[in-house]
Amino acid sequence: MEEVSSLYVHVPFCRKKCIYCDFYSLEKGERGDYLKLILKELNLNAPQFNQFPTVYFGGGTPSLMGAPFFEGVLSRIGQFSEVSVEVNPEDATREKLKEYKEVGINRISLGIQSLNDRVLRALKRQNTAKENLKAIENSLSVFSNVSVDLIYGAPGQTLEELLKELEVITSYPIKHISLYALTLYEGTPLLEKVRKGEVKLPEEEETSEFYYNAIDFLKDRGFSQYELSNFAVKGFESRHNISYWKLKNYLGLGPSAASFLERTYRQNLKDLKAYREKVERGELPTEVEERYSKKELLELKLLMGLRLTEGIDLEELKIREAFEELSKREPVNSLLEEGLLVYNRPVLRIGKKGLFTYNAVVGTLISSLL
């Protein structure tokens, strides 16, 4: 069996849910026994999984948890080199961050989302721009590997405002930036507001302009884009996330967490209560389990892998000839001609022009190829 390269731990608790977020999280969840549950679930997957080169605590709001939680998980696994925790600005005090560092955490992903108060209000975030700056400073005083999450395309945001935010952020020795277009998901309050016409998001032409301007700006500042939404100073790419995109094996713990082991995809029960009952009974809290066919696996490898700007080696996937044959005809021929896809035998990658229409480009490719 191929080794498992990464461990994801979901922390499904928030002080207050964000209006645009559709990840599973509770505002009033019982978290006293959460460590116990996670360890028990890890045990259910043992003994084959106990070494993870990368560990990622995501949420929810993992920074609601004290250092003992992380220590408890990390002490049970050996050989980790990248350990990330998502931290909310209000939790980013020096004291807390120092404790985190002491238990083995070495990378902070700071969810500031914006440095513009109007945008923060529009997103109904709890923090001000000033507090966010403070959080960045605190993080950098403790950790050298700090990433920030930024959202663009919020209601009323202008390009100048976005570039200004990037200007400020890149004036700090930040190593990694995740830049996300505000996206409407089913079941979120923001989508409801947009449907009711209470809130209007920028037009897609405008959002596209934000995106491409941000790419150019960040490149100037020494951040190279290694994935659709991720930018890093060389050497500081998120190894954990790269292993998802390369469809390596990963284990996910906690409600709603997903695992991918060999060809089998598994997703845990979303509801904390149901999850707890299962784990306490000593059963895997699986909600969905699917074993992918070779074809589906190939589809996923393309779908995920092309998000990385380095592209995919088609020879490795054994589809080089099929692709080259297909590339002479429509619609793939035009994708290449227009620079939406770039082919450098044997590596296929998404072209810069195709990044922001990724779904359509890769969807067209896959529908034609497979």
């Binding site: 996206t183 998802y244 229409t357 990724y358 779904n359 969807g363 067209t364």
Partner: protein, 599 residues
């Protein structure tokens, strides 16, 4: 063999829904031809689709025995007629097989367009016409009002009209007695050479093509060599018989009788409606008058959505063709749609019925191109080209003139809708040729109009402007020159053959604009800008762009959750199945019918 004196051949003619089929059922029941229990509702309509739509397409002929008040037993042949304008010629042939006709008029609706059209057909065929005022049991029935119309519009004696309710069985005996008394018996000569008129045929899996005939002179019996006079083809008769309503074998069919013939005929095109069958060894001198080969008036391309279905479509068309001499098809290739068939139909209804049967009975998923009439292009080199497919219209510089088929249309409407109907007809290039009051409240409008103008939602429009009260009938009125141009649609600079249409010069700009706008609505945004243009020759007359997709991305990636991405991909793949690639542009199937839907 009944003596001719005791034979009566008649048909029932009526406007749609005036109760023709119910009356036929009642006659069969009253004469004991079928018992009530056997009588499936509307016995004579055999196709499921026809029953659903309340129309009859295939003809049938049933033999009934009736013991009249004079004490004699009569052999009556009821010859059914199709009830739609597409089949006017077929109707006229059925009428020619009779000596009399029951003209059924709804007591609540009065005379409608098809009542008049059928009346004149029957008059032309020299039939004795017996008016029947049906549905007199309904509370809104107004027989006196209908009688006035019978006198004024048709010029018949209203006192001769029989009051009836087929539904309630009222007046049925009176109708049968009137047939005995008024409809003349056949007057052919059984000793003359055989002369029989084909008024219908169908395909039987065991016996081959079975023509239905009316024998005028002579006799026909098994073993006899017969000849079809239009194509000189000869066959040996295997069986003859009648329908009562089951297929019953007889020793012979003699002058005056109606029945069927089995003669190992393989191809339905050999037994065309209106053709005359005679004795191959001793032929009659003159065929029955009025024969005209079945000629499709409306053409459309039918293409399988899934190109793998081409063979299945071919087989399905062949099967339908077995029973439908009027259906024409030949292979056609479209740059846009691939391999398919150019199909010819008698009219719009015929086309719709065929398309629906292909989809329903054969499970095919089809793209139909917009229907077109047959244009005659007179070229400068002196030749004439018949154009069934607009894409094949020669370039304008080669054309001397173009002629298109015209119809004479009759529309009967309550007078308050005359204004909007006249407007509609005028918009459709109609020229008014008549305006007659049928009664104090209703008007018959007559128009000369290009056939092509009624192909595009004319019926729906007529219904909506008259709130469903106007009735419509038309007949073919020959070819006339028109100022026509071919309008091409270009997608990203390339003409799409399946979207070309032929339109009147004065309407080209408007139609071009409408088509381009409609296509802009239908074609989804894609990775490239899509330019849609309408052109006449090299001249672009309208254009529009479908802007390129600018954002289609799942930005936030919790990489571990692949379900959302997978779902999206599945949805995309599903969507692509309904698309046709035109170059690099994906075009949804419904685009090819866009031309039908523009206002």
């Amino acid at each position: 063999m009944p003596s001719q004196e005791l034979i009566r051949n008649f048909c029932i003619i009526a406007h749609i829904d005036h109760g023709k089929s119910t009356l036929a059922d009642r006659l069969l029941e009253f004469t004991g031809t079928v018992s009530k229990r056997e009588l499936k509702e509307q016995m004579l309509d055999t196709l499921e689709l026809e029953r659903e739509r309340g129309i009859t397409i295939k003809l049938n002929a049933v033999r009934m025995k009736y013991k009249a008040e004079d004490g004699k037993t009569y052999t009556m042949h009821l010859i059914d007629t199709p009830g739609h304008v597409d089949f006017t010629y077929e109707v006229s042939r059925s009428l020619s097989a009779c000596e009399g006709a029951l003209l059924v008029i709804d007591a609540t609706q009065g005379i409608e367009a098809q009542t008049i059209a059928n009346f004149f057909l029957a008059l032309d065929a020299g039939l004795e016409i017996i008016p029947v005022i049906n549905k007199i049991d309904l509370p809104s029935a107004n027989p006196e009002w209908v009688k006035e119309q019978i006198e004024e519009v048709l010029g018949l004696d209203p006192e001769e009209a029989i009051l009836a309710s087929a539904k309630e069985g009222i007046g049925i005996k009176e109708i049968l007695e009137a047939i005995v008394r008024k409809v003349p018996p056949p007057s052919g000569d059984a000793n003359k050479p055989l002369k029989a008129l084909i008024f219908d045929s169908y395909y039987d899996n065991y016996k081959g093509v079975i023509p239905f005939v009316r024998v005028f002179d002579g006799k026909i019996r098994p073993g006899m060599k017969i000849k079809l006079m239009s194509n000189e083809k000869e066959f040996e008769v295997v069986e003859v018989g009648t329908q009562n309503p089951n297929m019953v074998k007889l020793e012979e069919l003699s002058a005056g009788e109606v029945g069927w013939i089995a003669a190992n005929i393989k191809n339905i095109e050999d037994t065309q409606v209106g053709d005359t069958i005679t004795d191959a060894e001793n032929p009659t001198e003159e065929p029955c008058p009025g024969f005209r080969p079945a000629k499709p008036m409306v053409f459309a391309g039918l293409y399988p959505v899934d190109s793998d279905d081409y063979e299945n479509l071919k087989e399905a068309l062949e099967k339908l063709k077995l029973n439908d001499a009027a259906l024409f098809f030949e292979p056609e290739t479209s740059a846009a749609l691939g391999f398919g068939f150019r199909c010819g139909f008698l009219g719009l209804l015929h086309m719709e019925v065929i398309k629906e049967r292909l989809e329903r009975e054969f499970g095919l998923n089809l793209i139909a191109t917009a229907p077109s009439v047959v244009y005659k292009a007179y070229l400068k080199d002196g030749t004439v080209k018949e154009v069934q497919n607009p894409a094949q219209m020669p370039p304008p510089e080669k054309i001397e003139r173009i002629e298109e088929p015209y119809i004479t249309a009759s529309i009967i409407t309550p007078s308050e809708y005359v204004g909007p109907i006249m407007q509609l007809c005028q918009d459709r290039r109609g020229i008014q040729t008549g305006f007659t009051y049928i009664d104090t409240n209703r008007v018959e409008l007559r128009y000369d109009m290009p056939l092509s103008e009624i192909l595009f939602d004319f019926f729906d429009k007529l219904k909506s402007v008259s709130r469903g009260y106007a009735s419509f009938d038309y007949e073919f009125a020959g070819y006339k020159p028109s100022e026509l141009v071919k309008l091409d649609i270009l997608i990203n600079g390339k003409p799409v053959d399946a979207l070309s249409v032929i339109v009147h010069k004065d309407k080209a700009y408007q139609r071009g604009r409408q088509l381009v706008d409609k296509l802009k609505e239908i074609i989804p945004r894609q990775l490239f800008e899509v330019a849609i243009q309408a052109a006449i020759g090299n001249k672009i007359i309208a254009r529009s762009n479908v802007k390129a997709l600018r954002k289609d991305v799942l930005a936030k990636c919790y990489g571990g959750d692949v379900t959302r991405k997978k779902k999206l991909l599945e949805k995309q793949k599903e969507g692509k199945k309904r698309m046709k690639m035109l170059g690099k542009v994906e075009v949804p199937q419904e685009a090819f019918l866009a031309v039908l839907k523009v206002d």
